[in-house]
Amino acid sequence: MRRISPVYVIALLAVVCFTLGTCLEPRAAKWDARSQSSSLLTILLGDGKRMFANHFFVKADVYFHNGYYPSWMDQGMETVDTAHLTEEGHDELAEAKHEKAMDFLGQPSDWIERFGRNFYPSTHEHLDKPGDAGEILPWLRLSADMDPQRIETYTVGAFWLRLKMGKVDEAEQFLREGLRANPDSYAILLDLGRLYDENRHEAAHARNLWELGLRRWHEQEQAHKKPDETVLLGLLIHLADLEERQGNLEQALQYREKELSLTPQPDYVKKEIENLRAKLEAKTAGATNQKGGKPSEK
């Protein structure tokens, strides 16, 4: 029997491989979502990248504390709340709570621990130096790439870009990216509205965004998804402020009344409601007087 040259066998096998490859490739692309992704990280890590997203978000918090942060050993005891990343102004109560949470080192138990503390950041401080604010951003960017559904990443990132670095365009871009990935996010709509109101001074645009945020919040409540009430409170406060500024006092009053059931400072809101009612009465009285031809001055 005549022997077949190995070259022909290799060529035949190569042809079979190529044919199978061309037949199966379009089918294989439909097998899972991962293979359709354009991102190399998605292809490599799949859903496992969400785990890294959390790690990178925590890393941003580590940078915010200039390296002073509980390690995995300390974190096993208590998880650090990251709400302080977007704190505005000076809230003594929240600050004291945060200080207490960050006092994780305690007193050193022996000389090794005491001496060792000279070689790593062992005092609580924040990223306060001007020009350093951007240092947390690479980790937030990575976190958003790893898990686009993590809404906190976008709101924290936008907060730092907008309020600490004055990069309004970049903040808007980041929030819009978050909104594209999470179209139902009322939290992103709240921040986007704040950007339009506080930085771009476009009240109408801000109102539309906040009203959309309210709608999204109620949709999720109706679907029993337990939406965040603090964000609802934020939406109501900003809408009430905006309507008051715009002179729509009735609308502002409605928002303040809704705010009352959610606020931790009901006395303050009650005062605001009284002020609004007084303004509204004065306005109505003024309008009636003008209609009756009696100027209010008299």
């Binding site: 940078y63 200039n66 621990e113 790593y120 951007g134 980790w139």
Partner: protein, 259 residues
């Protein structure tokens, strides 16, 4: 002393002829360059993430260079039978151990100098400032760390059968001490006796290598470690290095040279 220096010169020459350092240096440079080319929100002054990455790569590279170089020193001399003419010079076994140690340590120092120069260039190009003292302190403490590691690996090379097993065991031990050493006391508290006492003894016996790692201080610009503490840490590192070198000499003295 001249004999020790002559021996260490041979080790340094051997190390710069090998490709380990060049490969790791190029790899560190490439990874840092790729990470540095990323644009985060149009801000070109963001540098800390890059510093952290570069320092991590420097630490890993230096560790592998030190372990790789020192693990094969004595076994290679025995395997090639060059130990016999060396000891016939006459060179004592103590001088061989000291020469090998100083050679590896100085070679690692040269490698570290190159790595930190690169780090300085990368950081300076971003931040437009050079925290020279901070880098020098980090370099010095890392060099002391490497002294302990090299001495430990040299001891391993006269205890364990093959350089590969010695290198593996030493890398695991060093990374273990480096990462977990300072938690042992806290773990000990939660354990029942006799494990508690064992962990406590271990906690006080192991060399606390984590002290020499001041990467977080450099990355987050936390200022300099007090110089007095640096000096004490250096003494601590020197004490452990001498202890391991002494153990190496004791084991090497009793070890038959022919395999």
């Amino acid at each position: 002393m001249n004999t020790v220096l002559a021996l260490s010169q041979i080790v340094i020459k051997e190390l710069y002829r090998r490709k380990d350092f060049y490969v790791l240096f190029v790899l560190t440079g490439l990874i840092t360059a790729v990470a540095g080319s990323a644009n985060f929100f149009n801000d070109d002054k963001i540098a800390r993430y890059l510093k952290e990455l570069c320092l991590l790569l420097i630490w890993l590279s230096a560790l592998f260079i030190a372990v790789g170089a020192s693990a094969r020193q004595i076994p290679a001399e025995r395997e090639n039978r060059t130990i016999f003419p060396l000891l016939a010079k006459p060179v004592t076994r103590g001088q061989v151990v000291a020469g090998k140690f100083f050679g590896c340590w100085l070679a690692c120092g040269l490698a570290l100098l190159m790595f930190y120069l690169f780090l300085g260039v990368v950081t300076g190009s971003r931040e437009r400032e050079w925290p020279v003292m901070s880098f020098l302190q980090a370099l010095w403490l890392q060099w002391v760390f490497l002294a302990v590691v090299i001495a430990m690996v040299l001891w391993g090379s006269v205890v364990f059968a093959a350089p590969s097993s010695n290198a593996t065991i030493c890398v695991i031990a060093v990374i273990g001490i480096w990462g977990l050493g300072h938690y042992l006391n806290r773990v000990a508290v939660q354990e029942p006796e006799p494990l508690r006492s064992f962990l406590y003894v271990l906690y006080f016996v192991i060399p606390h290598l984590e002290w020499f790692d001041i990467r977080d201080m450099v990355t987050h610009e936390r200022g300099l470690v007090p110089w007095w503490d640096c000096f004490l840490a250096t003494l601590y590192g020197a004490a452990y290095s001498i202890l391991f070198l002494f153990a190496t000499w004791v084991f090497f003295r009793r070890k038959p040279l022919s395999q």
